[in-house]
């Protein structure tokens, strides 16, 4: 019996202690008519070896194509120690650290994580992480409604340059509580949010403004201008940021005169594998004045009975297991395992290493855009500074081109056609430090061939 240690003798002795004739008797309070005799739909048991064979086959079927997609999830080098340590049973198979004395490892790792994320984003405090970047924005918007007491409108301005899935996710999660999200257009030349678009909202009750840096197109927004506008309007500013980029880009805490109020984003670039979309983790940091409005777990350092320092979950009065229907959120978990991986990743990279990763991303991405836009039928959509992604415009529909590239083992980018039809045949491409000159040349040559073949 897989993973069940009982011998026949054990079962006999245990039933005798219980005073039950057989195991079936333990279920005698369940109405007989509800019980099922078999489970069609679940195949018979396999041994570990057999499952291994199946999984190797499924994995081999998918292969390892050369990837040039970002669009919210980024391929980076993951140092070998990160997952070697993260999958240790003491971390992997522990639970939420309710019993602090038995969970100091997890708690201290969270405290170190909070310190790193707060500093990276230029904010004062961090929670212990959320599910992912997209749902993190939803939580940030709900938090802004609680924190901005002067605003009665529950109105959030969201530029179209914010990841469209984040926007939809925020609507799905926060829309049920009456939050209203309104679009801000972008400049077709720069791919950045238009300041003039904010003017019609001046003097109105705006709860918060969201700004993504680098934005979904990879372009760098004028963060100072938007931050100061939001401040002047009495709206909170929610920054959605890529953590890798923060090694070189101005952190949200320094945007404009006073900085953003909440910073959030997808933590995956920090040591978490792409893994078809998860598990990742969302980070959320803020100023001390808003700490009690923050969702999710928070760890604090304190003293024990003997006066030694130790770590514990704190500010739990915000949470569902205490406040039930009046909690700041229904969240009970953080993404502990992923947050641990990110902490180890940041410790291994350090300030200099992360800066090198960020710079290498920018350099490789610039090479990629040069190489691809040198092909006939490919042009750049926008001018202006970028981080590690860019929008290219093809002279024909994107999907057949991507399919042809996939057949050559290249995942060529993300088709923006559904989300941004006004851009034409637009393709979002990305290169990180993991893409070499050879990878880029391979892609450029394959793209050139594909476009020529189709033209012929």
């Amino acid at each position: 019996m897989a993973y069940i240690p009982h011998t026949e003798e054990d079962v006999r002795a245990m039933l005798e202690a219980i005073g039950a004739p057989d195991i079936e008797a333990l279920f005698d309070e369940i109405p007989a008519g509800l019980k099922i005799a078999s489970l069609p739909g679940v195949p018979p048991a396999l041994s570990e070896m057999e499952v291994g064979r199946l999984m190797f086959r499924r994995a081999a079927q998918d292969g390892r194509p050369l990837n040039f997609i970002g669009a919210g999830a980024y391929e980076h080098h993951i140092p070998a120690p990160v997952w070697a340590i993260t999958t240790r049973g003491e971390i992997y198979s522990a639970y939420t650290p309710y019993q602090a004395e038995a969970s100091q490892g997890t708690l201290q790792a969270i405290y170190e994580y909070q310190t790193m994320m707060a500093s990276l984003t230029g904010m004062e405090v961090s929670n212990a992480s959320l599910y992912d970047g997209a749902s993190g924005l939803a939580e940030a918007c709900l938090m802004a409604v609680r924190a901005n007491r002067r605003s009665k409108a529950s109105r959030i301005l969201v530029p179209r340059t914010v990841n469209p899935t984040y926007r939809r996710c925020a609507e799905a999660i926060a829309g049920t509580q009456g939050l209203v999200f309104e679009d801000l257009p972008y400049d077709p030349a720069t791919g950045c949010t238009v300041m003039d678009a904010l003017q019609p909202f001046e003097g109105q009750d705006i709860t918060a403004v969201v700004l993504q840096q680098p934005n979904f197109f990879g372009q760098l927004e004028d963060v100072d201008a938007v931050a100061d506008w939001a401040r002047a309007q009495g709206a909170l500013l929610i920054a959605v940021v890529n953590p890798t980029s923060l090694a070189v880009l101005k952190p949200p805490g320094e945007w404009g005169e006073r900085g953003a109020d909440i910073a959030c984003g997808e933590g995956q670039p920090l040591g978490v594998p792409l893994s078809s979309g998860g598990p990742y983790f969302g980070f959320l940091t803020t100023r001390m004045e808003h700490v009690r409005q923050m969702p999710g777990r928070i760890v604090g350092r304190t003293l024990d009975l003997d006066g030694r320092s130790g770590f514990t979950l704190t500010l739990q009065a915000r949470e569902q297991h205490i406040r039930r229907g009046k909690a700041t959120s229904n969240i009970c978990t953080n993404q502990g395992l992923l947050m641990t991986a990110a902490t180890i990743y940041m410790a291994l990279l350090g300030p200099q290493g992360l800066e090198r990763v960020a710079t290498a991303c920018m350099a490789r991405s610039a090479e990629l855009v040069d190489a691809l836009s040198a092909q006939d039928g490919v042009s750049r959509a926008f001018d202006g500074p970028r981080f590690h992604e860019a929008v290219l415009v093809l002279d024909r529909p994107v999907q057949p081109v991507l399919a042809a590239l996939a057949a050559e083992g290249i995942v060529g980018g993300y088709d923006l056609g559904r989300e941004y039809p006004e851009l034409g045949h637009a393709l979002l491409v990305c290169a990180t430090e993991t893409r070499t000159r050879e990878d880029i040349d391979l892609y450029a040559a394959a793209l050139g061939r594909t476009l020529r073949r189709a033209a012929a």
């Binding site: 993973y3 679940v42 198979s93 639970y95 309710y98 599910y131 899935t165 070189v248 502990g336």
Partner: protein, 487 residues
């Protein structure tokens, strides 16, 4: 024995780094106005220092791999290593979520089959794997109930009924979905108070959220009657899958009449708890809620697997994550279910219930009070320490802390809130009789200490890396980030 590991920043020295982890230096210019001016506070340590530090931190934890962890309501069973190994094959790890479906047929096949197996064990008509934790599964479930009533123009249905024994997430979720919470009491035998239920249902009832077996560790015997009452009032039934482990392969929520269920894959299907996540809260629905499932869902047509999205499910409650949820966790659950197979599913229910009822019998024999002594335990049960608290001044928390000195993780304490001085104990099916006997012996020993030396129990633990922590100080003098110069 006391351990202390410095905060990693205390190990940091300017200019030190794990050089081999860095890419070669490259040139790139950020415009001055957008540039970072000072470096972030990240550690500057060698690779060995980082490895040793986090390895030592891990050793300060209790975990399933190292200790019996009978945390009620959390199903802390063995997390098979195979699940981790096969979910972390390089092809799975490196697959970008937005890469073409043609390059993900192997992965999608696993996801489709997982959906099918979860449908089979729950008796539901369709499954979405996307919710990233139990609480998000709950959100999805209540949001679907809301969408269902709205689609029918039944806008008055804005109340969710929740028994008082429910997890805190149930009322918190209902509130997040813009619903009003109507709490109803439980009867003395642990079942829902049927008269109280009859009194609250009506034209405003959107639905009821039930955990069955309940958080009181007993099976809700009048479930068919409850279904009838809520149905007659026009409400829907929500099944909180927190305790699905207790009835896996034995009884199906779909057969009990539930319209929607969330499953905690990190409980019943043994994916890791990871020190507090990632969870995974797949949802299953009856036919009338199928149009509202959260997206994406895996479809299978013409021998190909593909994602179903907004175009296929236009009435969906929407997207709850950036991509498709916790894919890697789902792969682990898939491997687990394939290894157990249909015969293994039922054994989960059988042996987790055998272990719980055996441990309860041993503890009763040792002099402990069961909260519901006349009832069968499900896969967990509740002791109440009310008598010990009154007679010896030793409360449930003291017992919990003292257990740590005996090498056992504490059971869940003070939940459910309605049982005074309670310990909620869930041994799970993967523990041996010897382990349960060791735990029962430790409890008996602490019970004796509570009489002979109550101060000793109240001062516990003594052998853990820290002793009891000052939670009031933690909340009043907030120290949430390390600062240079701090110790």
């Amino acid at each position: 024995m006391h351990h202390r590991e410095p905060v990693i920043f205390e190990l940091s020295r300017p200019g030190r780094s794990a050089v081999s982890q860095q890419p070669p230096a490259a040139k790139a210019e950020v415009p001055v106005s957008l540039r970072r001016r000072s470096r972030p506070l990240l550690p500057e340590v060698s690779e060995l220092q980082a490895v040793r530090h986090y390895t030592r931190l891990s050793q300060l934890n209790f975990s399933i791999d190292t200790n019996f962890y009978p945390l009620g309501s959390c199903t802390m069973k063995y997390n098979p290593k195979a699940c981790n190994t096969y979910a972390m094959l390089p092809e799975f790890l490196t697959r970008h979520p937005l890469s073409p479906e043609s390059t993900g047929q192997g992965f999608l096949a696993c996801m489709f089959e997982l959906q099918e197996m979860l449908k089979a064990v729950t008796g539901m008509k369709a499954v979405s794997l996307t919710p990233m934790a139990g609480a998000q599964g709950e959100f999805a479930g209540v949001a679907m109930i809301r969408a269902y009533h709205r689609a029918r123009g039944d806008l008055a249905r804005n109340e969710i009924i929740v028994p008082e024994a429910a997890h805190g997430t149930n009322p918190a979720t209902a509130t997040m979905c813009g619903m009003k919470v109507r709490e109803i009491p439980c009867a003395a035998d642990g079942d829902v108070d049927i008269d109280a239920l009859r009194a609250v249902v009506g034209p405003n009832t959107a639905g009821i959220m039930l955990t069955n077996p309940s958080t009181l560790g007993v099976f809700e015997r009048r479930i068919v009657e409850i279904k009838q009452i809520v149905d007659d009032a026009g409400g829907l039934l929500y099944y909180d899958g927190a305790n699905l482990n207790a009835i896996l392969g034995m009884v199906r929520p779909g057969d009990m009449g539930f319209d929607v269920i969330h499953m905690n894959l990190h409980k019943t299907f043994s994916t890791p708890h990871g020190g507090g996540g990632p969870g995974s809260g797949a949802v299953g629905v009856a036919e009338r809620l199928m149009p509202y499932l959260p997206i994406p869902v895996v479809g299978h047509e013409d021998e190909r697997y593909r994602w179903l999205d907004e175009r296929d499910l236009p009435e969906s409650i929407g997207r709850l994550s950036g991509f498709m949820g916790n894919a890697g966790v789902l792969l682990r659950a898939y491997v687990y279910m394939r290894i157990l197979g249909h015969e293994g599913m039922r054994r989960v229910a059988e042996y987790s219930s055998l272990n719980a009822n055996y441990l309860l019998a041993r503890l009763k024999a040792a002099g402990f009070d069961a909260a519901y002594p006349e009832r069968r335990a499900s896969h967990e049960f509740i002791l109440t320490m009310k008598r010990q608290a009154r007679e010896n001044g030793v409360n449930a928390m003291d017992f919990a802390k003292r257990l740590l000195d005996y090498g056992f993780h504490a059971p869940t304490t003070y939940f459910p809130l309605l049982v005074p001085e309670c310990l909620l104990i869930e041994p799970t099916e993967t523990e041996s009789k010897e382990e349960l006997d060791g735990f029962a012996d430790a409890m008996a020993s602490i019970l004796e200490e509570a009489v002979t030396d109550p101060a000793k129990v109240k001062g516990a633990p003594y052998t853990t890396p820290v002793r009891r922590l000052d939670d009031v100080r933690a909340a009043k003098q907030l120290d949430l980030v390390w600062k240079p110069g701090a110790s």
